[in-house]
């Protein structure tokens, strides 16, 4: 996956980065760079497509969180697509930051998801 190569593609104003099958300390640095580059393009929406990702450890989670913070700074809305790694992303609370969709089509359509996308300090839960 590279920032300007096959990893990043545009669907209108929406940028899509496809993540590899496995993300760990060995490749997370490179992925993080590609994601940060993608997040600095002033896209309206950046989608990280992790539908082919089956393993994502804490280094991968760090790359996503850094991307979220970068995207927030440039007013880019971040969306994720995940199935196999949905559990780990939910566990570490990534779904509280950004909506997670089961398919790329759903992410492109951008319907609201069940999980709140922004932490609400007044939420009594």
């Amino acid at each position: 996956m590279t920032a300007e190569g096959g990893g990043l593609r545009w669907m209108g104003e929406q940028a899509v980065v496809t993540a590899p099958a496995e993300i760990d300390a060995a490749n997370a640095g490179e992925i993080r760079q590609a994601l940060l580059a993608a997040a600095s393009h002033d896209a309206a929406v950046l989608i990280i497509d992790m539908s082919a990702t089956t393993f994502c450890d804490s280094a991968g989670v760090q790359a996503i969180i850094d991307t979220y913070n970068q995207a927030a700074a440039t007013q880019t809305q971040l969306r994720l697509v995940a199935t196999a790694v949905l559990r780990i992303l939910t566990l570490v609370g990534v779904d509280q930051l950004t909506p997670i969709y089961p398919t790329l089509e759903a992410a492109l359509a951008g319907a609201p998801t069940a999980a709140a996308s922004v932490p609400d300090p007044d939420d009594p839960r």
């Binding site: 393993f55 280094a59 989670v61 760090q62 566990l91 609370g93 930051l97 932490p119």
Partner: protein
Amino acid sequence: MEVGGVEVAAPVSRAALEDRLRDIQSITDAALSRLDDHDLLAELIERTRAVLLADTAAVLLLDFSSGHLIATAAAGLEEEVRQGVRIPVGRGFAGRIAAEHQPVILDHVDHSTVLNPILWAKGIRALMGVPLIAGGKVIGVLHVGSLTPREFTGEDLELLQLAADRAATAVASLMAQEDRVAAEALQRSLLPPAPPVVGGAEIAVRYVAGEGKVGGDWYDVFTLPSGQLGIVIGDVTGAGLPAAVIMGRMRSTLRAYALESADPAEVLARLDAKMQHFEPGALATVLYAVLDPGLERIHICSAGHYPPVVASPQRPAELADVPPGLLIGAVPGARRRVATMRIGQGTLFCFYTDGLIERRGQRIDDGLARLCQAVKAEPPDTACATVMGALVGGEAAPDDIALLIFRRQP
């Protein structure tokens, strides 16, 4: 070589060049078998100075946390090391070499080209420096200087780069070794040697470094003045000494806030705020549990950490229902929620880090299912042995593993 009282540089023959190469090779080959990198560096610069007929030689190593090059070894320029010279990457002669990953030759040395006053005060007239690169990263700079005017040649540069390349690998592996020893010592000093004795509580622990390398996993268990028992398990993203250092700071910070608040959500929220301010960029999962003085209830708050596995004599093991919360260090003001549950007599809680259940090529749910199968409401020491046997077996774990098992006496 002197001709009529005037020193001239002789054309270097192929054989002479090979001799010079061999000289340099001999430094690093011998050094690889030694453990002290200061000996290696001292010998490297002495040989480099001799081979290049230079007056001074120095090595500056990059301190990753500050982004400064620090004078570590010098010949003919010992003041550099004794005065603790630090050069920011990107500035001055050495700083430029490190920033651009490129050699720099200066045949004019003064305050406009060189940041470090020691170099020009010493009367150095010409300087040549190259980056030390290991694993694609600059780890330092090696430079030589001349007290008389001199134009360093392309061949000189080639030799210096060769010495640097050979040395970089050795230095990097020695530095990694030193870091590993320091991280292990730190890790050992921070994990409580024996759990506190609390009436009715049985506790057992395990820590295993992943593939020989410690990381940022930790557990902690302590009593509070109120008579409550605190249990912590956490995992700092990253590995080695940097992760272990951050882990140490988080452990102390959490203990301090635990004294101030009985609410685990409040403690984690304060820890999060402290980390975001003082350790920006650091990320960690932490679970903090507070048990009532009679051990009848447990209050658990998770910041991105796996929920514990609960087992009781009456019920098979399952994952505790703990609301997920964002990792520590992710975003400011994350919501923190607490799950409170009753602890029956003989009930066991198994706290662990991801190294126990995550394996490449396997789904996390499979790892969690295997863990739930392995956990039984047995004495904690036995339970630790059973869990490690079932999930690790004879394999070396790729990532480090922390495991803490608590049981309320049956």
